[in-house]
């Protein structure tokens, strides 16, 4: 037959094989470690170049294009790095889908040098650490800082960054933004009405009463659809009453951690707010709706974090003047002083250990941690970085300035908790139960017993990996 020499069967076979070949290629185990960059021709290290960066090797950076956008990397961090290493070709990338884009790169053995592993679709740090994909960043901590060769990087950043960035005993994740939690209000609204940020819980209740009676706005709200916004101040308050151990015990799934006296006092206090002072309809509103209500002066206060101002920038009136105050004194004999804050580093940067140029990656992080880079960043995205004093002398927006000041005032009295990322089931139960606590469906004791029961279940469940701090 003079027809083209491809039979139906061959065509089918070919068609069947193509995806198989593709699949095989896709599941191929990670390629052998690429000839380690350092081994080829190690560049001498010096005080100015502590990691021995090869000035000619390219650097690939991936930024999570979320609430902070990607301009800070393009316009602040990369120019700073390029000024020192003009011959390094920096390849900037941004995505909202970190896992989808970069997981295959890890599997293929050629991950990029710097990743901002953030957002809802971030890669699991535990899994990456388990597979030793993360560069040990301890040398970064011990390296001289970008600004002052006599000061180590370790001393320029908050201790919480090091605590929370340590996986299986190795510091390998650098949180760059400092999320500072507190009660947020409009400084203008408070000034115009003669209201004062309260220092004690009694003052707080009185203020709520005053605002309620004034009829101008509701005293308090929170993102009712996401009650994790409310268990945040509840836990911070418990830590303030009973000390940091309250949260450490909860994180470590200790027996009776949830039902401690401090937790009882705190849960009771917040249940009272839920019963008396909430904006109408709060349980059915989400964070955007409640925050917008605040921007419209329909409600005075809400609990949130230092990302709030940037998140609300399109709906905030120009003279709104965000302000934040810490959890007030509750019992008069609280274990931690006034000003105690919950803060948690976030926007997590990693350097993949199997990238071609991890030295360059670490150097990029070192540049990010300079005062100039961190300060410019804070100004651009209206937030607080983990670099100490980076906001000094800057024109910070009112909210960022307020949060920065509160954080400076807190000093060592900073707390955090990790159970919600370690035990997702416990988080969902806490979310469900906190909503019930605030709407009166659960009494404080029943609320805490329910969470204690869930924590106990998780402790007993052999299929859940346990963590300790």
């Amino acid at each position: 037959m003079p027809t083209p020499h491809i039979s139906r069967r061959e065509l089918l076979r070919g068609a069947a094989l193509v995806p198989v070949a593709g699949a095989l290629a896709a599941c191929a185990t990670p390629a052998a470690k690429p000839a380690a960059s350092g081994s080829a021709a190690p560049v001498a290290t010096s005080a100015a170049n502590p990691f021995g960066v090869d000035g000619k090797k390219p650097l690939e950076v991936w930024i999570f294009d979320g609430g902070f956008g990607q301009d800070y990397a393009k316009n602040i961090h990369q120019p700073l790095f390029a000024a020192k290493y003009p011959e390094v070709a920096i390849k900037h990338n941004a995505t909202k889908e970190i896992t989808k884009v970069l997981q295959p790169r890890f599997a293929g053995g050629n991950p990029p040098e710097v990743i901002d592993n953030s957002g809802a679709n971030a890669m699991d740090f535990g899994a990456l650490a388990q597979d030793s994909q993360l560069q040990d960043l301890t040398p970064l901590l011990d390296a001289p800082s970008w600004d002052d060769p006599n000061v180590k990087v370790r001393d320029t950043i908050d201790q919480a960054v090091i605590d929370l960035g340590t996986y299986d005993g190795t510091f390998s994740v650098l949180g760059y933004v400092n999320y500072i939690f507190g009660i947020w209000y409009s400084q203008k609204a408070f000034r115009d009405n003669g209201w004062e940020p309260p220092k004690t819980w009694d003052e707080f209740l009185k203020l709520c009463e005053t605002i309620k009676k004034s009829g101008k706005m509701a005293p308090f709200t929170y993102a009712g659809k996401f009650p994790q916004y409310l268990y945040e101040p509840l836990l911070t308050m418990a830590a303030k009453i009973g000390g940091n151990e309250v949260l450490v015990n909860i994180d470590n799934l200790e027996d009776g951690a949830w039902t401690s006296e401090a937790m009882k006092t705190s849960a009771t206090a917040w249940a009272e707010i839920g019963a008396k002072y909430l904006l109408e309809g709060t349980p059915g509103l989400d964070h955007v709706q409640t925050q917008t209500a605040q921007n419209k002066y329909k409600v005075a206060m809400l609990p949130s974090g230092s990302w709030l101002e940037n998140e609300q920038k399109t709906t905030t009136p120009a003279d709104f003047e965000y302000g934040m105050f810490p959890i007030p004194d509750i019992t008069g004999s609280d274990a931690m002083p006034y000003g105690t804050l919950h803060s948690q580093p976030s926007e997590n940067f990693i350097v993949p250990s199997r990238s071609a140029n991890p030295q360059g990656g670490m150097e990029y992080l070192r540049a990010m941690l300079s005062k100039k880079a961190a300060g410019d960043f804070s100004e651009l995205v209206k937030t607080v970085s983990v670099v100490k004093g980076a906001g000094d002398g800057r024109q910070l927006s009112p909210g960022a300035a307020s949060a920065t000041k509160a954080f400076a005032d807190a000093g060592q009295n900073v707390v955090y908790y990790r159970w919600q990322t370690w035990y997702a089931q416990l988080k969902d139960e806490a979310v469900a139960a906190t909503g019930e606590l605030m709407t009166g469906g659960l009494k404080p004791e029943a609320y805490l017993e329910r969470l204690q029961k869930k924590a106990d279940d998780i402790k007993k469940d052999s299929s859940v990996k346990k963590y300790k701090r």
Partner: protein, 303 residues
């Protein structure tokens, strides 16, 4: 001749092979794998999950949230078909034989027929987002706005755990009714008109027309509807996941089996356990199907 026949068989087989292989690879084999995965501790990332026997099933029996989900599915299984069929039947009757003359629809029935079908055209996710706005708890809510204007306290359609389940049921009925109005209309159209006319001449009113003629002659269609709606009630997912607060909340008051499977697999990364839940759901659905087939067979003999 024989060779030609062989060729022809081969030709047919080659055409049949593709769909069968696709079905085997993408439907049957994942089902089979799910049974195996249900007996492992797989967390979705490791290449070699460990075999744990029936651990996941033992754990499942102590999982309060899953059993809460099962009761919600069970409640839907009864309430969804019942309310949908009653409403759809009522509308179909009015549209087709409810008119003043008895064998025509009420005035404007052509218009209503289109309107009833609208919800069916919308994607479930769209419906879910739409109703989030309808149910908003403040003055901007389509239902609460008028209520608040009348001075009544707003109802937390989705935020009150005692009400949320009924909101979900309401939306599901709202979306399903249109299709069953059409189904029952087709059923009604196949009933000979002289039956209605004869009954009318004998003096039957609308009520007895409905109960003596329409209902018995539609019985087969009703059974089909019941099975479809039953399955819809058992595998409901998107409307709950998208519309309700905290994906099945508040306080687990609207969660369903499929939502718990999804939560365990893609939020807790417990693929093994989620597969065990999936196996349970499979058992429930197969059980329901067998039961309803049995029952309907008996009905048909009686009829």
């Amino acid at each position: 001749m024989l060779f030609n026949r062989y060729r022809r068989g081969l030709f047919i087989t080659s055409f049949l092979a593709a769909p069968v292989i696709l079905y085997l690879v993408y439907v049957i084999s994942p089902y089979a794998q799910a049974f195996y995965i249900a007996m492992t501790d797989w967390r979705g990332v490791t290449a070699t999950p460990a075999f744990v026997g029936l651990d996941n099933f033992v754990r499942l029996f102590g999982d309060d949230i899953f059993w809460k989900a099962v009761t919600h599915n069970a409640a839907l299984l009864v309430l969804l078909p019942l309310s949908t069929i009653v409403i759809a039947l009522f509308f179909a009757f009015l549209l087709n034989v409810g008119g003043a003359q008895g064998v025509t629809g009420i005035r404007g029935s052509k218009f209503y027929r289109v309107v009833f079908f609208f919800p069916q055209v919308l994607a479930v996710a769209v419906v879910a987002v739409l109703f989030q706005q309808v149910f908003r708890p403040d003055g901007s809510g389509m239902l609460n706005g008028p209520l608040m204007a009348l001075g009544i306290k707003p109802i937390g359609f989705l935020s009150d755990p005692d009400v949320a389940f009924w909101s979900v049921l309401g939306v599901m009925v709202w979306q399903a009714v249109g299709f069953y109005v059409v189904l029952f209309s087709a059923g009604l159209a196949s009933i000979p008109r002289d039956m209605f006319e004869a009954a009318q001449i004998d003096g039957a009113g609308r009520l007895s027309l409905f109960f003596r003629i329409t209902l018995p002659l539609l019985w087969d269609t009703l059974q089909v509807a019941w099975v479809y709606l039953g399955i819809l009630a058992l595998d409901v997912f998107a409307i709950v996941w998208v519309m309700t607060d905290q994906h099945g909340g508040p306080d687990w008051s609207t969660t369903v089996m499929a939502a718990e499977i999804y939560r365990n697999a893609f939020q807790y990364f417990r693929f093994g356990y989620a597969s065990a839940l999936g196996v349970m759901m499979f058992v429930f659905i197969v059980g329901f199907s067998v039961l309803s087939l049995r029952l309907s067979r008996r009905e048909r003999i009686e009829y």
